[in-house]
């Protein structure tokens, strides 16, 4: 073992200078270190988490900024033009991408987020282009209906535990009932996609109630436990 004259301590391992005060150590070269270092030398890792957090927050700021900036322009189908469409499209795609990445640990949770985000972006885009109603007629029912089917398949294929997805699956199905609400309120000019989505949601709801009624109730009781 080497020795530090400054601190008068014995140092374990192959330190060339004292880990406490930095003074070069008396190393007896003939005798190899009898006591190895108690900790392994782990290479420095740059904090990936911090990089991701910065990227995430900057992206989010740029996207939200871009969406808000649209309000400064003319609001109609002609005014939107090719450049703004590409701009909005890129922002929407990037938003979906970062949300999918940040929620990748729970596929069901991610799906809920995506349905809400995509639905919101479509409605906003529709509003910017002078409100033709395409988002409510087509986009939202199609996204909701497809996500329910996709989620039911995914949790089965990935063998996700019931408790891990049930709450979010139920939420996705509930979102699937929203287009039926639009129909009820008379907001739609083309009811077929919404009706189809509603049927899918009701079927999924019936399936959840019959096959998974008990897990849903226990999970809800657990999550909302006071």
């Amino acid at each position: 073992m080497s020795r530090c004259d400054g601190c008068r301590v014995e140092v374990e391992g192959d330190w060339s200078s004292c880990p406490l005060c930095g003074t070069p150590l008396d190393t007896d070269q003939s005798a190899p270190a009898a006591v190895p270092e108690p900790f392994p030398a782990v290479p420095l890792g740059y904090s990936r988490r911090r990089v991701f957090r910065v990227l995430f927050l900057t992206s989010l700021a740029v996207i939200v900024g871009s969406f808000i900036a649209q309000l400064l322009f003319v609001r109609d189908a002609d005014g939107i033009g090719a450049a703004r469409s590409v701009w909005l499209g890129l922002c929407a795609m990037w938003l979906v991408a970062i949300m999918a990445i940040s929620k990748r640990h729970n596929i069901a949770k991610g799906t809920v987020w995506l349905v809400v985000l995509i639905g919101g972006v479509c409605a906003y885009w529709d509003y910017l282009t002078g409100w033709n109603g395409w988002s409510l007629d087509w986009a939202i029912p199609i996204v909701c209906g497809c996500s329910i089917i996709a989620l039911l398949i995914t949790v089965r294929v990935m063998r996700t535990e019931v408790g891990d997805h049930i709450l979010y699956s139920a939420l996705t199905v509930a979102l699937g009932l929203a287009p039926v609400g639009f129909l009820w309120l008379g907001w739609l000019s083309r009811p077929i996609p919404s009706v189809a989505c509603g049927i899918v949601a009701v079927l999924a709801l019936a399936f959840l109630q019959v096959a998974r009624g008990r897990p849903v109730r226990t999970e809800l009781a657990k999550r909302l436990h006071l």
């Binding site: 073992m1 530090c4 400054g6 601190c7 008068r8 301590v9 014995e10 140092v11 374990e12 391992g13 192959d14 330190w15 060339s16 004292c18 880990p19 406490l20 005060c21 006591v35 190895p36 270092e37 108690p38 900790f39 392994p40 030398a41 782990v42 290479p43 420095l44 890792g45 740059y46 904090s47 988490r49 911090r50 929620k103 640990h105 729970n106 949770k109 063998r159 996700t160 535990e161 019931v162 408790g163 891990d164 049930i166 008990r214 897990p215 849903v216 226990t218 999970e219 009781a221 657990k222 999550r223 909302l224 436990h225 006071l226």
Partner: protein, 456 residues
């Protein structure tokens, strides 16, 4: 078919443990490590067998942490722990939001077996039992001969809590329930009735004291700086006895002195405050491995009285002794139980709780200079006792801290800090070696230049 996860048993996380979730940062992930250094290199396969056997007896360690709307909760899992070679820096983060992994890890490096635990799961004294059983199983290379941890708990009349919170709940795993139960509530029934607590203004308004806080350079990748000092326990005890103080307060006094020496001019911040956790199990019998401690604060202001080491130690001892009596601790325990049962805290949504607890913790940290923790003396049963050479103990830290543990006459004091500097450790070692004690230093490499010596 998958087993229904909702059929799994779960217990909500107590407020005390919730602090560790709210207070964790990149530099301080609230993970602590217990390490057993053996007399021979560790055999990974044998260790895995020992871990498998021990794990089966500790339902609490099967828990994963999940979040609800109002609480975090511990949920039993089917995961199995896998022994790994030590490839992380010490006290690397264990809990990650949304990831369902176990809240402890077992690794090995040369002759060492390391057990790292997320503090929300257990405290040092609770985890020591797991390490003891793990090492015993390793030594015997068979299942531990000790009684499973859950047995005595069933016998004890556990708490109003069980009835109070779980009247309607289906519990398929009573062993997990008992093990994951809040330790403070577990002893709530054993306390005598107390008068209603009264709020005193004095408790809310603190006198303005300038508390000295250690500043430094953060380590390059936020890893914990850990330095281990090993010394003969007997020699340190003699020094403490000569000053007429307990070993913990002696070490705390030396710590204050070394921080003071390394700080140079103290300026106006001349009060040093240390937080010292006291294991409540010694006064309130509980076999729970959950967090069960109360912290006691001791302080010394330099420049207004005698500042030599002996006087500082006696000053600290005079403050610590009355605060660590069963009567004083009962008050703290009562407060813990009250917090646990508080109806207001129960309806606060969890994200809000996280933010508020985080702030409270930061405010508390501003009044602390250092933290110390002494786990005392540990022994193993044969054949493990003769297999173990040293035991180490340390915790990730938001400020300079030391953890001490004694085994077979060797006291290991491990300093941890979020900063690269080790000046205060050097001063600490010099004070001890100056008193004629033989000190051995083991350190984890943290800075680029330290690592460059060995990694090419």
């Amino acid at each position: 078919m998958n087993k229904s996860a909702t059929g799994r048993t779960w217990v909500r996380l107590d407020n005390v443990s919730n602090i560790f979730l709210a207070a964790r940062t990149d530099a301080d992930p609230k993970v602590f490590r217990l390490a057993a250094e053996l007399t021979e290199p560790v055999d990974p396969e044998r260790l895995q067998r020992a871990l498998d056997a021990t794990y089966d007896h500790y339902p609490l360690y099967h828990a994963v942490l999940r979040s609800g709307v109002f609480w975090y909760y511990l949920q039993a899992s089917d995961l199995r722990p896998v022994v790994t070679a030590e490839d992380h820096h010490t006290c690397a983060p264990l809990y990650q939001t949304d990831k369902r992994n176990l809240l402890f890890r077992v690794s090995h490096h040369r002759r060492r077996i390391n057990l790292e635990v997320f503090h929300a799961l257990s405290d040092g004294a609770g985890a020591m039992r797991f390490l003891t059983d793990l090492v015993s199983a390793y030594a015997a290379d068979s299942a531990p001969a000790v009684e499973p941890e859950v047995e005595p708990q069933r016998g004890l009349s556990i708490d109003s809590f069980t009835h109070y919170f779980r009247r309607r709940r289906h519990t398929p795993d009573p062993a997990f329930d008992a093990a994951a139960e809040s330790a403070a509530l577990g002893v709530a029934d054993t306390l005598p009735a107390a008068p209603r607590p009264r709020w005193r203004v004095g408790r809310l308004i603190r006198p303005r004291i300038r508390v000295h806080r250690v500043k430094g350079t953060r380590t390059p990748d936020n890893r914990t700086r850990a330095v281990e000092l090993s010394l003969p326990a007997k020699d340190m005890l003699e020094l403490a006895r000569a000053e007429g103080v307990s070993p913990t307060m002696y070490l705390t006094g030396v710590f204050f002195e070394s921080v003071r020496r390394s700080a140079g001019d103290l300026g106006r911040a001349r009060t040093f405050v240390a937080s010292v956790p006291v294991n409540l199990r010694q006064f309130y019998p509980s076999s729970s491995a959950r967090n069960f401690f109360a912290t006691v604060l001791v302080s010394h202001t330099y420049g207004i009285g005698a500042d030599d080491l002996g006087s500082v130690c006696r000053d600290l001892e005079a403050q610590f002794r009355p605060k660590a009596t069963p009567k004083a601790l009962e008050k703290k325990l009562r407060r813990l139980i009250r917090v646990e049962k508080s109806p207001i805290l129960r309806i606060v949504p969890r994200p809000v709780k996280d933010v508020v607890l985080g702030w409270l913790n930061q405010a508390h940290n501003r009044h602390l200079t250092v933290a110390v923790s002494n786990l005392g003396r540990v022994t193993f049963d044969e054949p493990a006792e003769s297999l173990v050479e040293r035991i180490g103990f340390h915790v990730s830290a938001a400020r300079p801290q030391f953890c001490a543990i004694t085994h077979a006459g060797t006291l290991v004091v491990t300093f941890t800090s979020p900063f690269s500097e080790t000046d205060h450790v050097a001063e600490f070692a010099r004070i001890l070696t100056g008193a004629g004690i033989r000190v051995r230093v083991g350190a984890a490499r943290v800075t680029e230049s330290e690592l460059a010596e060995v990694i090419r």
